[in-house]
Symmetry: C2
Amino acid sequence: MKFTIDKNIILENLNHVIKAISTKNVIPVLNGIKFDLTNEGLSLTASDSDLTINSFIPQKEIKNVESEGTIVIQSKFILDIIRKLPSDVINFEVIDRLKIRIFTDNAQYHLNCLDANDYPNLRMDEHKDPILLKGELLKSLINQTVFAISTQELRPLLTGVNVTIAGNLLVFIATDSYRLAKKTIELPHSIDTDINIVIPGKNLLELEKIITDDEMVEMHIFNNKVLFKYKNIKFQTNLLSGQYPNTSNLIPNEFGMEVKLNKDDFSSSVDRAALLIQGKDKNIIRMSIAKQEMTITSFASESGKLEEKLQIDTDEGATIDISFSAKYMLEALKTIKDENMVLLLTNDIKPIIVKSVEDESLIQLILPIKTF
Amino acid sequence: MKFTIDKNIILENLNHVIKAISTKNVIPVLNGIKFDLTNEGLSLTASDSDLTINSFIPQKEIKNVESEGTIVIQSKFILDIIRKLPSDVINFEVIDRLKIRIFTDNAQYHLNCLDANDYPNLRMDEHKDPILLKGELLKSLINQTVFAISTQELRPLLTGVNVTIAGNLLVFIATDSYRLAKKTIELPHSIDTDINIVIPGKNLLELEKIITDDEMVEMHIFNNKVLFKYKNIKFQTNLLSGQYPNTSNLIPNEFGMEVKLNKDDFSSSVDRAALLIQGKDKNIIRMSIAKQEMTITSFASESGKLEEKLQIDTDEGATIDISFSAKYMLEALKTIKDENMVLLLTNDIKPIIVKSVEDESLIQLILPIKTF
């Protein structure tokens, strides 16, 4: 294998696939990135066996191919090595079968490589008829839900995002059992067979970073895996197995109180209240509503307290005194892009619903915390 | 105490003094910042008893003073609290003697305070006739030397910078005994009594951050402390006691070899060589000179090796094969601002001197590492 390529092209594509490399990986060859150069182009693959990313550089984007071949290059340092080489064009040449020479006119790295024969055969199957989503839409489906997954491995299913399709409705749901994020969109076409899968949240976060524009993303769903195809990139992740809890009855249908307010004002109030209690396990702040005014308070015995008033729009008789996690509220508020928002409340133990006034597709639910 | 002040003014001044607050502090009241409001203005003081910083805001820069007084406000969160308040003007009011209310129209923090009576009396003496240095010059004296101090508490004196004045020559020297940085400047006037003090390096780093322009800095030197006065800021640090080692005979007077080369080229070569060995205890790279060409190599058994050639200007017969720490060389090279540099070499065990071609005031010395 010997070829010459623009530094920016190889860097961009390595940058995509390297996201699949895990530091916890125990299979030595999976610490490397597989370079596979044929007369069609250069295929780069990285995997932690759970997540596999492939990026394909077509032959016309490669400056010069002297000989084809396959090798696995250690991922450690590889981005820095290429980035720091003093030329816009980089040469790669396999020497002694298991070494690669990466060089420019005056500088050359000789790197130990791994044997491509040891690299697992990672099938990346595709359907004839995948689900199509615009890049920006998929990004917001991920961004507006994935933060709510559980980080605790005790309930592994909750570390994933529940993706369901019924008819033409596509729904992303994430919950850690204290809060829930739900985003619903309409697909242009209905599908025949309902879908109900759980995609690991951390892998969706990596996918979100790779998607940078509004080009179509193909979604190929299988029993135990899903493949996203975007431009020249294939992104395949295993699914979490098991039955995701039914969350449909968690969101109340009726509420005693509807509170309209400015999203930025509320968000910065909660942020200030969170300040005094940062670093605490339970970052609880209190919200009181009476006489069409909202009061936000927080208290830390060693530091002091915050109290502030917010103008709101609600029924004259509405009163409530409710406590919740400032962190959860801030994360929910971050997903709301509009200026005006709604809080739907019932009493101090029923869920709080956070929504945009304009956008009905997104629901954020936060359970209150009982304080005495 | 009750006053109103522009957010930016109080933030800027708090930001200066808070640099003296130590997280390792054991005296409770020194976790706070002392606010002292008189008819002349607001004096802010913070200290870890080793370093004391005072910033004075004259009365004309304070929007409104309703009553004078003194209190110690906990430094934790104080910058964030003020930064996040939703107004450009902030009100401070002492309530209940040991609480302060920091408020704007709709938001108010009540913070627990510390008793100003417990705050130590920190004298900040001044000479009639201080040494005067331009701000930018003092910044470069610090920047070009302080990185070479020792971080090990075993030899406490080496964690400081040795500052000497003899006649009109001011010298900053730092060494960790493996490398040495020395910067010499001429003062406009000679002083009568020679000075030889050691200033804690970490405090000089904080001073460097506070100085932002070329205004004059006054240097008031005492037996056991030094006070820097810059604009409205007083910065006082204790000195390290003891006799700093005599370093004058460490720098050789004669060299077998003078090598001229481009600073950026050499620096990026060393940087690339350092890449493969990063994270290693001894980040040793090798430099060979023969036939008026320099070769830089580095080697890591698990990753591979780097080799590159550099064009240099030296005697035809000059040959050497020498190893040194890539980290030390990169840090020394960062202090050199000119395009062209000189390496002065003798053999593989004698010190390497790194200098700019133009600037004779700065000398960087690095001891080679013997490899077999």
